[in-house]
Point group: C2
Chain length 160, copies 2
DNA sequence: GATTCTGAGTCCGTATTTTGAACTCAGGCT
DNA sequence: AGCCTGAGTTCAAAATACGGACTCAGAATC
């Protein structure tokens, strides 16, 4: 994916139209100002309407709409729960699809710490078994890590 | 980052306020419907206003605005170029900051292929040296890959 | 058994963004 | 001189977002 080093101004068109572009499809589901932030809340176990609202300061009408969309995309599930001696309520829980976004989230968070925040940031991702700090990296088929600069895109069905 | 397995409805608040959250800061820079797609164009070497517009179908006024924001965030640089026997024009080129987003992009693309597209997608990322297909993975301090399910968030400055 | 409280919304008028179409402007080409 | 092209700008209409008030059901309180 990394760019041609010496940008050549000759190439004019993206190799793949938008409809087949996985990134574009992902952007339809989570590419707006709030969805990412709502999912982050879910990653940290915040699942209740008013708690999300309080954390993010999102308007109620928008939160209602975004939650419905996230449920519609199967990123999150609405499910009932009851706290001891309280009436039954509904909360929102990540689905497997939503949980799998974590890798992209971690990558984006690390990028932001390096390039936007400019410092390590208050939360670190660790291996719950060993306690070791974790990073996101590219690995090849043998599991060896490869520097980003060596990654290039290749058409799978070579043109047509 | 991955969620507590058995979601406990007790936790109510995100561990970190929005202002310090790296993801939230990243979302301010690239969290809208078009910025991601524009950056994707840049990854593939498309750098001219009208080409981006044609690929994405984005309205001119929005593209102008988004490009200015991306330049403002130093994700992209506006720089002059001239093609043989043509007048000098301007194009947009990724900065190092922009290029480093590639890892998050690749992770998001793979997620989308797995969960949105449902099939491999037309572009694959390979090692330009070996040709080996590349994936995104979590690695610990010794470079061993760790499954996502073992990743948990930990506060770096342990509460206060 | 009426009133209050709380979580989880809905409704609504205003403000902001997006859209798409038309217009501009500079430089080169015929 | 007139036309074309890339890279915008301007503008009205449509879609979204915002924030405050309102609703509604069940528990708790008086």
């Amino acid at each position: 994916m990394s760019n041609l080093e010496s940008a050549d101004p000759v190439r004019r068109r993206a190799p793949v139209p938008r409809a087949q572009c996985a990134l574009a499809r992902a952007a339809e589901e989570i590419g707006d100002r709030w969805s990412l932030l709502i999912l982050r809340e879910a990653f940290f176990g915040v699942m209740r309407y008013d708690d999300i609202r309080a954390d993010l300061g999102i308007p109620r009408s928008v939160l209602t709409d975004r939650l419905a969309k996230l449920v519609g995309c199967a990123l999150v599930e609405k499910r009932p729960y009851q706290e001891a001696g309280d009436r039954r309520r509904f909360g929102y829980v990540l689905t497997a699809k939503g949980r799998d976004l974590a890798l992209a989230f971690i990558a984006l968070t690390h990028w932001s710490e390096a390039h936007v925040l400019g410092e390590p940031g208050p939360i670190e991702i660790v291996d719950k078994q060993t306690g070791s700090g974790l990073k996101v990296a590219l690995i090849d088929e043998r599991g060896r890590t490869v520097p980003l600069a060596r990654a290039v895109p290749k058409l799978r069905r070579p043109e047509r």
